[in-house]
């Protein structure tokens, strides 16, 4: 299983992704789709679904082309005269897994006039309730800064439970706290009872969170 999500360092913003995509095969289509969404936001439902089959398939700056292209359309949707963040709610509701992934990955890069979080945060919660490792991983990217500590810890624990590499978690070492350590200890004890191990990255995290005494015992 792989839980790769776009977002290499340094992360490209949507303006850079857009410029790169417009210069490639499918660029003309994307430009027309963008204009269509700007003029008629309802058109996004069909166009958003079509993106991956309209663009050249190779990735751009670590983003799958379809995800990057969809991010461009989302930006157009948010800034269209009749668009706005509420449009995202409907789009996500009827999105397939690939479309949901694109929305989650794009969230941290989308234009935000202060209204996006109210719409975006429930989408993260929705993604964290799924058992789709791609969506869970994407929900723990940079936009997870908006997640409260309880939901964030549950998300990290869910990664360990599902075998998602902890490398997908944004600001892990910064946000990991004693409460997360308690939860990881609990999972480690259960795994021990079952004769199974924690993934190595979870063991390393637990060690880093434990005091010097525990670290020596390990």
């Amino acid at each position: 299983m792989s839980a790769t999500v776009p977002g290499p360092e340094p992360r490209w913003g949507i303006a850079e992704l857009r410029a790169a995509l417009l210069a490639r095969d499918g660029g003309d289509w994307l430009r027309r789709a963008e204009a269509e969404v700007n003029n008629h936001p309802d058109a996004v439902a069909r166009l958003f679904a079509e993106v991956p089959r309209r663009l050249a398939p190779h990735p751009v700056a670590g983003w799958p082309a379809g995800v990057a292209g969809r991010a461009v359309l989302l930006a157009a949707l948010l800034t269209a005269p009749a668009g706005g963040p509420d449009r995202l709610v409907d789009l996500y509701r009827y999105a397939d897994s690939g479309e949901k992934l694109a929305i989650l990955c794009a969230l941290p890069e989308l234009p935000d006039r202060g209204e996006l979080t109210a719409v975006g945060l429930p989408l993260l919660h929705d993604a964290l309730r799924t058992n789709d490792i791609r969506l869970v991983a994407a929900a723990l990217g940079p936009y997870a800064r908006h997640l409260g500590p309880e939901a964030w810890r549950q998300g990290v624990l869910k990664c360990v439970f599902m075998g998602i590499p902890l490398a997908v978690v944004d600001r892990l070492s910064e946000r990991a706290d004693a409460e997360l350590a308690v939860m990881l200890h609990g999972l480690a004890a259960e795994r021990l009872a079952a004769g199974r191990d924690l993934p190595a990255d979870a063991v390393a995290l637990l060690r880093s969170l434990s005091g010097p005494t525990t670290a020596r015992e390990n």
């Binding site: 058992n131 939901a151 609990g186 079952a194």
Partner: protein, 283 residues
């Protein structure tokens, strides 16, 4: 060996499973309402699901000589979605149905305040419908989730002997038995219990107030792990009567508290099911 699987999601299983289960001695199942993998987005989606649990699925089971009962609830995971919380208004309609033998699965997933609300509200429904309750314990933070679940059970005023706390393991059984609840174990590849670990637990704790289920669903699971557990018990020196107690009489005793368990003519062929006797609780 006659088997009553007290927790299995047959909606997600094939007729091959039903055939294998029947051949191995499974004669009765309880199917709890739960998450179907794909998140639902409106109460109507639940209504159709509940209809299926008291309609189509019992009919399907009957084709294989297996008696099917259900438990109904808004599950903890989807209780977090505001679009689904109106399901709480639908649940009582289904709790009144003839083949519904408990409220469930209720409990915790991520231990949010929304889950608190749904859990407490549905325990209150269990009390008012005089039904047992099936409480799911979380995959994450299980020990504290189990402790918190028991506190909510006590708070509700329901008789703990009418509550099963499910998906337990070596670390969570003690507090559940001490609280007077039934202890449920899901024998499920990888993520939950194995037959051999279950046998060790039975050696240590005995067979009272213990339920063993397969919890087979849409995941990589095995509806015959109840049977495998019975075989492992025999291999470890338990008697056939011990096996019958754990895999048949215990689930019967637990769900019979609903007053709705109907096991009449349970070994007869499916054709007799549709208009069958309404005698209750017979074995």
């Amino acid at each position: 060996m006659r088997i009553f699987d007290p927790h299995i999601h047959m909606t997600s299983r094939t007729t091959d499973d039903y055939m294998a289960m029947a051949a191995a001695g499974v004669r009765a199942v309880v199917e709890p309402a739960f998450w179907v993998g794909q998140p639902r987005t409106n109460p109507g989606s639940f209504a159709d699901y509940f209809d299926s649990l008291v309609g189509w699925e019992p009919h399907r089971a009957s084709q294989f000589g297996i008696r099917h009962h259900a438990t109904i609830a808004l599950n903890p995971k989807e209780a977090n979605d505001a679009r689904c919380t109106p399901v709480l208004d639908l649940v009582p309609r289904y709790l009144a149905k003839e083949s519904v033998v408990a409220v469930g699965e209720i409990g915790y997933d991520a231990m949010t305040t929304e889950e608190d609300t749904a859990f407490a509200a549905q325990l209150a429904m269990a009390v008012s419908f005089a039904l047992p309750a099936l409480v799911h314990t979380p995959h994450r933070d299980k020990k504290r989730g189990t402790e918190r679940s028991l506190a909510v059970v006590v708070e509700s005023g329901i008789d703990p002997g009418r509550v099963v706390i499910d998906h337990l393991n070596e670390l969570t059984i003690d507090i559940v038995l001490e609280a007077g609840c039934w202890a449920g174990f899901s024998i499920y590849p990888q993520t939950k219990m194995s037959p051999d670990r279950m046998v060790e637990i039975l050696k240590r704790y005995g067979t009272e107030r213990i339920l063993v289920n397969s919890a087979a669903d849409w995941g990589r699971s095995d509806p015959l792990l109840t049977v495998r557990t019975g075989e492992a018990m025999l291999a470890a020196g338990f008697t056939p009567d011990d096996v019958d107690k754990v895999l048949w009489r215990n689930p019967v005793d637990f769900y019979q508290q609903s007053g709705r368990l109907n096991l009449a003519h349970v070994t007869e062929p499916a054709a007799s099911f549709a208009g069958s006797s309404i005698a209750r609780g017979g074995q």
